[in-house]
């Protein structure tokens, strides 16, 4: 084991002298002496410090006289006085003092002296083996950081929407419907259900609907695409979304909108109060409305399962419906809206079951309006305590925690804790074996088993405390920022003021200390002094548990490394996939949220000489996910319906023919999913119009993770409706053209972010964040491997030192150093091979299980031996390095000297 202890007389780095009879450690001797005296109630801690200082002076003087260390210590101890003498002398003074003012609180001081003595010798023993302590602290702190992050994450995740004060009495109305032969629960509701319940049912105190629409919000030349949420008047009364400015009662006004804190900042900057300001909402080429800001919400809590960015009253929705014929209308049972929340007077199970039963009365009305979508029944789902299976509800208006996701996080934290605790146990036992002599001396001097255990546990607690501090810092500075980067759900910084968080830390500290320290403490205290001092203790005799720990640890390290390599390989795999057509590198796309932008940017593009073709689109392949249900022969096919301009497909290189009215283009997967073959003149019904399938194009990347999903392109010819522009540049001209457009954009609309790139790079943001994830995982894996290798290094070094004589004999008999090294380490080499094979099989099993569960359209990396070989080689190399670090000791040893000392 690496050991930075001050060794005054032995220069040999590790161990050969730890067990031979001439070794002497002044620090061990001192702390043993000190601990023994600390049991004497007559001697106060301060006096003990003074005595120790004296002993050190005597010792230094004796050394200066040229005495060998052991003799010097003996002399110093003799002139300091033996414990019996000291006790008598101090006792005398103490009895004189008892009734003096200095005698006050003596018992309390004795207890604190005892604790201090444990802490002092604990800290010394940690400092003596600083390398091992550092490994232990770092290892444990990584685990602590993981545990803290997971705890905080679950705190947010399990309390989704819990901040709504009326949450216990708020229920979402959901419905069950049969789709493709399967019963599904969905979060949408018929539009008139809410108002009907409020009128018909006295136990319903309020009903608030939500419905969403995409819109472009503009304040002068600042424009953003936002989700507009329509809601009923009771919104601010039902939900706890306090307003920072403005009054909550303007939802009846069709021209009033409320903004989230974030949206207000984007539109108006940091310091302006936007209440009373005018905004423009643009829905389509001929539909834009002027609205007035009525209020701005306080920032939403991190655990908001749903919120809004722009909120308008239901009246605004009705007004919009009147304007555009065929748009949403009020009071139709055939129209579904995004969600319905009701507040009930009595939230008991009995009352809500009764209410759910009464909802059946509305089913005939819904079925009368939609015979193609017959609702089976309605269900109630509580906002604060989601019903079982809530995470499986489709289109649920608010997020529900997913038990598998939560379980995976807990598993990760538990695995990390287990790994570090195993490691800790291995290293501690290794250290303890090196402290046999100290333990023997302590026992001979009257140290009880309980005292030894206490001493060990105090050391352990100190170490765990260090790890806790480091771990919380690690979580705060590294893990939580990484986590907040990767996930939508945010961990907020407020947890330091919460009592439960501190309670969790205390539990974590005690839990870790007991888990990691109990076995080593028991192991150490069970040594028998006579056999230790006589050199007869079998060091690794009952180390089978140590062996199990090491096997487990290496198994876990192997699995971690394999996961890391697999994730990295998957990144490589995704990067290597082309977006689709090879033209992608000469095509660029630009997001143009407003119709005047479309006109202007089109002009910039066409003005360039190197542009070949240009087209507009409402949805852009690679960026938009316009999922729509299409019914084909009674089957519902979830399809991506891209609405694009005439030349879009040819610019993108997806299809050479022009898209025409009344016809659609579909991809191969659409055809196979529909069960169609080519050239049969198939027809597709979409928005109550029937289209003819004009041609079939090869599958392309829908998003970074899927290719084979049904997709369909339909013509929207009006440029004012387009929100994307694509253009094909001449040979290698795309980057230059992109730079030009971006420069002009920033001049023209400095407040609106430019969003555009070359099509070949459309997935780069995703790939970059994936790479970040992969890298963070890589660090974690490297740390896990480092910890495991350190543990192995420690054990193998103990092993070698224990077998020095055997090694010497082997060398004398003519074995080569390399051969000897192999023989000595054979047990560990066997372990690396066995755990490696087990981990490979386990990972393979997990991977295949995961693959069989993954949705069909998900793009999966083919399973090849490559990542397994890389992972295996990495761990093997680390293990060999850990064991080979002792090579010098074996090669440079002088067998004669070693054997002589016997």
């Amino acid at each position: 084991m690496a050991d930075d202890a001050p060794r005054h007389f032995d220069s040999d780095s590790f161990d050969s002298n730890s067990f031979d009879s001439d070794s002497f450690e002044i620090e061990i001797a001192l702390s043993t002496w000190r601990q023994f005296l600390s049991r004497d109630r007559a001697i106060l801690p301060e006096d003990l410090d003074e005595l120790e200082s004296h002993l050190r002076d005597e010792y230094a003087a004796a050394l200066a006289e040229g005495l060998p260390p052991r003799k010097a210590y003996e002399k110093a101890r003799a002139s300091t006085g033996n414990p019996g003498e000291l006790h008598t002398a101090y006792r005398r003074v103490e009895s004189e003092k008892r009734y003096s003012r200095h005698g006050m609180g003596r018992e309390a001081r004795y207890m604190s002296s005892l604790a201090r003595s444990y802490v002092t010798s604990g800290a010394r023993s940690l400092a003596r083996s600083s390398a091992a302590s550092i490994i232990n602290i770092v290892g444990l702190s990584i685990a602590v950081a993981c545990a803290v992050t997971v705890y905080l994450f679950l705190g947010v995740y399990w309390s989704l929407d819990a901040f709504h004060e009326k949450g216990e009495r708020i229920f979402m109305v959901e419905h069950v419907v049969e789709r493709n032969g399967r019963m599904e629960t969905r979060g949408t509701v018929p539009e008139p259900l809410g108002p009907a319940m409020a009128v018909d049912m006295p136990q319903v105190l309020g009903a608030v609907r939500l419905d969403h629409a995409g819109t472009t919000v503009s304040n002068g030349n600042r424009s953003f695409q936002e989700r507009l949420t329509y809601t009923d008047d009771g919104f601010f009364d039902l939900f706890t979304f306090p307003l920072a400015t403005g009054s909550p009662d303007a939802l009846t006004d069709p021209t009033a909108v409320y903004l989230s804190h974030e949206t207000a900042q984007r539109l108006f900057g940091l310091h302006d109060d936007p209440v009373g300001e005018q905004l423009t909402l643009t829905f389509g080429p001929s539909d834009s409305r002027e609205v007035i800001v009525a209020g701005v919400a306080e920032p939403f809590p991190a655990n908001a399962g749903f919120d809004f960015s722009v909120l308008a009253g239901w009246a605004a929705r009705t007004a919009a419906a009147d304007q555009t014929a065929g748009g949403p209308t009020d009071g139709e049972w055939g129209v579904m809206v995004s969600g319905l929340f009701v507040e009930v007077a009595d939230a008991s199970e009995f009352a809500t079951a009764a209410l759910a039963g009464q909802l059946a009365d509305y089913i005939p009305r819904q079925r009368g309006a939609r015979d193609d979508y017959p609702i089976e029944r309605f269900v109630l789902d509580n906002l604060r305590n989601p019903m079982p299976g809530a995470h499986k509800v489709l289109f649920r208006p608010t997020e529900a925690p997913h038990p598998i996701l939560a379980g995976m996080f807990v598993l990760l934290a538990v695995l990390m804790m287990a790994l570090s605790c195993f490691n800790y146990i291995n290293i501690s036992i290794g250290l303890a074996l090196r402290r046999l002599r100290e333990i023997g001396v302590r026992k001979v001097m009257g140290g009880t088993r309980g005292q030894l255990t206490a001493q060990f546990m105090v050391e352990n607690l100190l170490l765990c405390f260090g790890a806790l501090v480091l771990g919380v810092a690690g979580a705060w500075y590294a893990l939580i920022p990484i986590f907040n980067n990767l996930f939508v759900l945010q961990i907020e910084s407020g947890f330091f003021t919460e009592g439960t968080f501190w309670l969790f830390l205390v539990v974590l500290l005690l839990g870790t200390a007991v888990l990691s320290g109990a076995y080593p403490a028991w192991y150490v205290s069970s040594f028998r002094p006579v056999s230790i001092l006589g050199g007869r203790t079998r060091l690794m005799g009952n180390a089978w548990l140590t062996k199990i720990f090491l096997y487990t640890q290496f198994f876990l390290a192997f699995v971690t490394i394999l996961v890391v390599v697999l994730v990295a390989e998957n990144g490589r795999f995704m990067r290597a996939l082309d977006w689709g057509p090879e033209e992608a590198s000469s095509v660029l796309y630009v997001s143009v949220p407003q119709s005047d932008m479309v006109t202007e940017v089109s002009q910039w593009i066409t003005a360039r000489s190197d542009v070949e073709r240009m087209a507009g689109a409402v949805h852009h392949a690679g960026r938009s996910m316009p999922t729509t249900e299409i019914e084909i022969d009674g089957q519902v096919l979830l399809t991506l319906v891209y609405r694009v301009g005439r030349d879009y497909l040819s610019v993108m290189g997806l299809d050479e023919t022009e898209l025409t009215a009344g016809r659609v283009v579909v991809n191969e997967t659409f055809m196979t999913s529909a069960g169609w073959t080519l050239g049969d003149g198939h027809r597709v019904a979409l928005d109550s119009t029937t289209y003819e399938v004009a041609s079939v194009i090869p599958d392309f990347h829908i998003n970074p993770l899927s290719i084979h999903r049904p997709a369909l392109f339909v013509l929207v010819d009006d440029p004012a409706a387009h929100t994307w522009l694509v253009a094909r540049a001449g040979r290698d001209g795309a980057p230059a053209m992109l730079d030009d457009i971006e420069a002009r954009w920033q001049q023209r609309w400095p407040a609106t972010e430019f969003d555009g790139d070359v099509q070949a790079r459309v997935f780069n943001p995703f790939l970059e964040s994936y790479d970040n994830l992969s890298k963070s995982l890589g660090y974690l894996g490297a740390l896990a491997l480092l910890i495991a290798a350190m543990g192995l290094y420690g054990l193998s070094s103990q092993n070698i030192s224990r077998r020095m004589k055997e090694v010497a004999i082997r060398k004398v008999l003519g074995a080569s150093s390399g051969r000897t090294l192999l023989t000595v380490n054979s047990a560990w080499i066997r372990m690396v091979i066995v755990t490696g094979v087990a981990a490979t099989l386990a990972s393979l099993a997990m991977l295949t299980a995961g693959y069989s569960l993954a949705p069909e359209e998900l793009l999966l990396m083919p399973i090849t031996p490559r990542p397994f070989i890389i992972g295996y080689m990495t761990v093997l190399a680390a293990a060999l390095l850990a064991m080979g670090a002792h090579a010098r000791k074996v090669t440079s040893m002088n067998p004669a000297l070693i054997l002589q000392s016997a």
């Binding site: 200082s53 050190r56 005597e58 006085g81 003498e85 003074v93």
Partner: protein, 108 residues
């Protein structure tokens, strides 16, 4: 040559005398006494420290922890005005003994 009883009687006077020349700590005091007696008087920690503590209780000396540059932290002792007075009493007592004994031995 020194006997325990004489030790016990003289120790207060010797410690106070040493401290009057400057603050010091236990080990240094013992070394100083050894030096002055040319090795004939050898105090142990067990005999000195309890006495120091009693003198502290009596208010003759006070203590403080101090860490001079380049050395270890040690507990130093300093003489107090009460200590000076006690030393003066001791000095007179020892001078009397000295006079008596010198006279007696000279006469012999």
């Amino acid at each position: 040559m020194s006997t325990k009883s004489l030790n016990g009687a003289s120790i207060t006077a010797i410690v106070l005398s040493i401290l009057r020349r400057g603050d010091s700590y236990g080990y240094e005091i013992i070394s100083r006494v050894r030096e002055l007696s040319q090795g004939d008087v050898e105090w142990t920690a067990g005999s000195l420290y309890p006495v120091l503590h009693r003198m502290k209780t009596n208010g003759w000396i006070r203590d403080y922890w101090h860490e001079p540059d380049g050395e270890r932290r040690r507990r130093y002792y300093a003489i107090t005005p009460a200590g000076e007075k006690a030393l003066e009493t001791e000095r007179r007592k020892w001078m009397t003994f000295h006079r008596v004994l010198t006279t007696l031995w000279e006469g012999a």
